[in-house]
């Protein structure tokens, strides 16, 4: 049985039904444990004081904001090549979650920025790239909403996602060129040089796991909703005709 069998809508509903509560529960546990650990049991940072606690929200949400878009890109490609409806619907389902993550990243970033840099907003490359990503999400969601025929909508939004991804990448380089910026370098590179110290690192990992699991759970839930909506639409069309 190939992996693609799971992409069949009925099969998808079948296996995601039991998986969904597990996804939500493990997400919840990771989030509660991670945030609790980070908020209550870690020290303040030497330079940043207690604001370092914002890292447990800011970094995971920023990571998910990007990863959500990448998942949408992959799902869009799968739709265009293999025409699995579940794939197209999963991309559609992921967008609101992704935009929420982007918003959390932007807002926690702004709130953190005020005491650290003296301003809520700076046209720093990382922040600017996230603002641009926010606009891409908006456009994607708006296009889905504007088109009646579901297959046409899936096709057009998939092409938009692909073209958008190229331009989003271009924008990242353009924005880095345009302004050197205040944002610190990568906190979590595999190269140990600039890593966040261990006492913050482990609760952060748990929070990241929590956000990832929450994303997965939400996308599964929302895709199931989309599949039901699609079936409902088919039934309603049949009702209208008879």
């Amino acid at each position: 049985m190939s992996l693609w069998e799971y992409a069949n809508p009925k099969k998808f509903m079948g296996w995601t039904g039991p998986v969904l509560p597990w996804a939500f529960w493990t997400a919840g546990i990771c989030l509660v444990v991670g945030l609790f650990w980070g908020f209550f049991l870690t020290p303040d940072d030497y330079r940043q004081g207690s604001t370092v606690k914002i890292i447990y929200l800011h970094v995971p949400s920023a990571l998910m904001a990007i990863n959500a878009w990448m998942m949408m890109l992959v799902a869009s490609l799968i739709w265009l090549v293999r025409r699995h409806h579940v794939s197209a619907l999963a991309a559609k389902a992921a967008a609101p979650v992704g935009i929420t993550m982007t918003l959390i990243a932007l807002m926690t970033g702004a709130i953190w920025g005020q005491p650290m840099w003296g301003t809520y907003w700076a046209w720093d490359p990382r922040l600017t790239s996230f603002l641009i990503l926010f606009l891409f999400y908006l456009g994607y969601m708006a296009l889905w909403a504007a088109i009646d025929d579901p297959d046409t909508a899936a096709d057009l939004t998939s092409v938009l996602c692909i073209v958008g991804s190229v331009f989003a990448l271009l924008s990242r380089y353009a924005v880095n060129f345009w302004n050197q910026g205040l944002h610190q370098g990568a906190s979590l590179s595999l190269d140990k040089e600039e890593n966040v110290s261990d006492v913050f690192f482990f609760p952060l990992l748990v929070c990241i796991a929590g956000f990832v699991l929450l994303f997965v759970a939400l996308v599964l839930l929302r895709t199931r909703t989309e599949i039901r909506a699609r079936r409902l639409r088919a039934l309603q069309l049949r009702e209208v005709r008879t």
């Binding site: 945030l35 908020f39 209550f40 303040d44 004081g49 207690s50 604001t51 606690k53 914002i54 929200l57 800011h58 949400s61 609101p96 979650v97 929420t100 918003l103 959390i104 807002m107 926690t108 709130i111 953190w112 005020q114 005491p115 929450l214 939400l218 839930l221 929302r222 199931r224 909703t225 039901r228 909506a229 079936r231 409902l232 039934l235 309603q236 049949r238 009702e239």
Partner: protein, 50 residues
Amino acid sequence: MIPDLGKYGFEVASAYAVSIVLLFAIVGLSWRQSVKQRRALEAAEARRHG
């Protein structure tokens, strides 16, 4: 119980508040949409078979 957040108390608290509100919002919205579609689909299926 709440650690001394020092002079950044407002910032940390509001960052957490904003994030938690947004997370609850997307979870709640997704849940509501799911329930609504499920009910509508069940009704349509019932009409079809009834």
